[in-house]
Symmetry: C2
């Protein structure tokens, strides 16, 4: 059997996978304080308006705006001081006509007041009298009740990854618990007769498992929970037993194949036996990462990655990212972090194939320079030396030195 | 006393703070598997070469390159098959002249072999004889021992934040423990007579503490450990007692002041009493965030942030980020994640002042558009609505609609 029946371009390959998934995020309620990076399960509505009362945005005197009309330095308005608004409390008095009250930033406007004059534009002439040197408009220097958020308003949509700002916003509303999507469990299976665990001394011919750990770390970064199933020999039966167990216990299964063509075919065979529809994509027109398998078995995504560490991590960064976002129900468009840089070398690329080139960023007087880090795709330290990747799309035949490129940070 | 004696531009303000710090990262050894995002304390050297033996990068026949010279499809070289190289083991035989051995990707070259012919360029004519249809050069399709990493080579420098690639690289070398910098403890004190904890019902005039939680989340994001000291009344004595405790127990202290000028002066007074040299910067020429205090007390950074949540988070994103990077010993230049976008509106800006404008990114056919999110700087949900910030430097007088801008992702 020829290994690759059909090589799909990466976007089509990914689309074919996603078209076969109906991910159903599962609800979990957690303490807001623990929720950084979690994804909202559904929209959050404000239990009350914010601010919940009219607040001053400056230090000064709260007034009725109309009492200040026409006031200038040459011809000030004179207002009686009715009192001082204590912080964190109601004033305890209403503001009569032609009176004002000392107020601090964040203080609650007394009844009757509708604007605040900054202290810089006032002059206290007596203990209980102030000159207003500048007129204020209705609502000036005031945060109105509900100006940030109205009661009942959706303040955070569903499918949003919570950042520090959202954590703060929830706390402002007294929402100390939040409904988020459960973290998907990603089952990770390594295979290869030559592969041994990291803690083991290697004998000639052996290499240590790298993929299980880069994939675990990537999974953590993406908000999933990695579950490692160890290293399986390159034979159908043990691989199938382990894959079935992983499929049962996890939401996604990732198998890194041994590196030879025969073991890759074995992975495809095992995946096809796991459930329907089975293998959807076998081979992607991308370098590195051509021998990628994308499958759905009984509603769960199963991904067969190339054995070599660079290919495995590049493909996982593309595919596992999308799959986990779908399982988490991420809906807000999140731009991939990137920087613009100037390429230092010509980079030829075969038309029809998407290329991902690891680059090192160097900061120069005219911005960043992107230096390609060359290395065979088996060399994990190629990625350690790189800050990110340049993606050369399938329809391009290469990039030239000096060209402005987008570097996707890794 | 005038509140701001001298307003410094943000870069100078930050420099003055950093010039007074001699941060000493502290060593901690952790399991590599737990080390994602941690920062290397010092350089990591390879205990052995990688790969540790010459490996094939393809499926095919390992050969002596000289035995294939001149081979073409029309005039193949005929080589005897000495055997098959098992995966994960030494071949168990040396390759005699004019012989070859079947080998799989990742297999260890037998003694005597110095190149591999891809299986596509061979034809098995008998069980023990193969036609070689194309000559290979010395080392072709072979990863040499040490081609990724030489024994003793520094593979990861000190001061690097560990990504999935580094975790994998460490595992490849059998380094299941790694020396990292301890996570700095960031003491967070909120103040303000109007501020109550998030779990509390608010009465008129009260607001819930937001800053302690946005700052905790930011600290977590940056690799520090937040320690919250609660909400202190706006009086010197309780604030000083708590600040002293925090300074003793933590590596950094952040105090968010009440929002009025008088409580900000109180914060400066408390910080000055904590230790020498005390307040270095009182007021930064930036919006939002002008009333920022930067101090060093007995060797530790102490930061006084404006009370309003947007200012506090913007300034912390600039200052606390730098301080934590210094305390962690981060040395590798890390580009701030950003995207290029086209501005949808004119943005005026006062010359001499740096402005940070929250924007929402919208993906369009010609790339991203950046829509400014307007809102008074007291409104935390302004930040929730934004994907990032545009920084307008002090020497610019504004940006115009349609202009290409860099959006720093938040």
């Amino acid at each position: 059997m020829p290994e690759f029946l059909e090589l799909l371009p990466p976007p089509e390959a990914l689309k074919r996978l996603m078209d076969h998934l109906q991910p159903q995020p599962r609800l979990e309620e957690v303490d807001t304080i623990q929720a950084l990076g979690r994804v909202t399960y559904d929209g959050v509505n404000a239990p009350h308006a914010l601010p919940s009362f009219a607040r001053s945005t400056v230090d000064g005197f709260s007034v009725r705006a109309e009492d200040t009309y026409g006031a200038t330095e040459a011809l000030p308005a004179y207002l009686r001081v009715a009192g001082e608004v204590p912080m964190g409390k109601v004033a305890g008095f209403a503001l009569p006509k032609n009176q004002c009250a000392l107020i601090h930033t964040g203080g609650m406007l007394p009844d009757g007041a509708n604007a605040v004059v900054m202290v810089e534009y006032t002059q206290q002439v007596q203990v209980d009298e102030v000159e207003i040197l500048r007129a204020v408009a209705l609502g000036e220097n005031v945060l109105k009740a509900g100006e940030d958020v109205a009661e009942g308003q959706e303040v955070i949509p569903g499918g949003i990854r919570l950042r520090p700002a959202e954590i703060g916003g929830l706390m402002a509303l007294g929402l100390t618990r939040v409904r988020v999507s459960q973290q998907p469990r990603v089952g990770i299976i390594s295979s290869g007769d030559e592969v041994v665990p990291p803690e083991q001394e290697i004998k000639p011919g052996q290499v240590r498992d790298v993929n299980a750990y880069t994939l675990s770390a990537l999974t953590q970064d993406l908000g999933g929970v990695p579950v490692r199933y160890g290293i399986i020999p390159d034979r159908v039966k043990p691989m199938r037993i382990m894959a079935e167990k992983a499929l049962q216990e996890c939401d996604v299964v990732v198998i890194t194949a041994g590196s030879s063509a025969s073991t890759r075919d074995l992975t495809a065979e095992v995946i096809n036996a796991l459930g329907t529809p089975g293998v959807l994509v076998h081979g992607v027109e991308v370098r590195p990462g051509k021998p990628t398998i994308l499958a759905v078995c009984n509603g769960k995504p199963v991904i067969g990655l190339p054995g070599n560490p660079v290919s495995a991590l590049v493909i996982a960064s593309i595919v596992v990212t999308k799959v986990l976002e779908a399982l988490l129900g991420v809906r807000r468009f999140t731009p991939a972090p990137s920087v613009q840089a100037r390429l230092t070398l010509n980079l030829p690329s075969q038309a029809g194939r998407e290329d991902w080139i690891p680059v090192r960023l160097v900061s120069g007087p005219e911005g960043y320079q992107a230096e390609p880090v060359f290395g065979k795709s088996n060399l994990i330290f190629t990625l350690v030396r790189a800050n990110g990747f340049i993606r050369i799309p399938a329809d391009a035949t290469g990039l030239h030195a000096g060209q402005q490129v987008e570097v996707l940070l890794s």
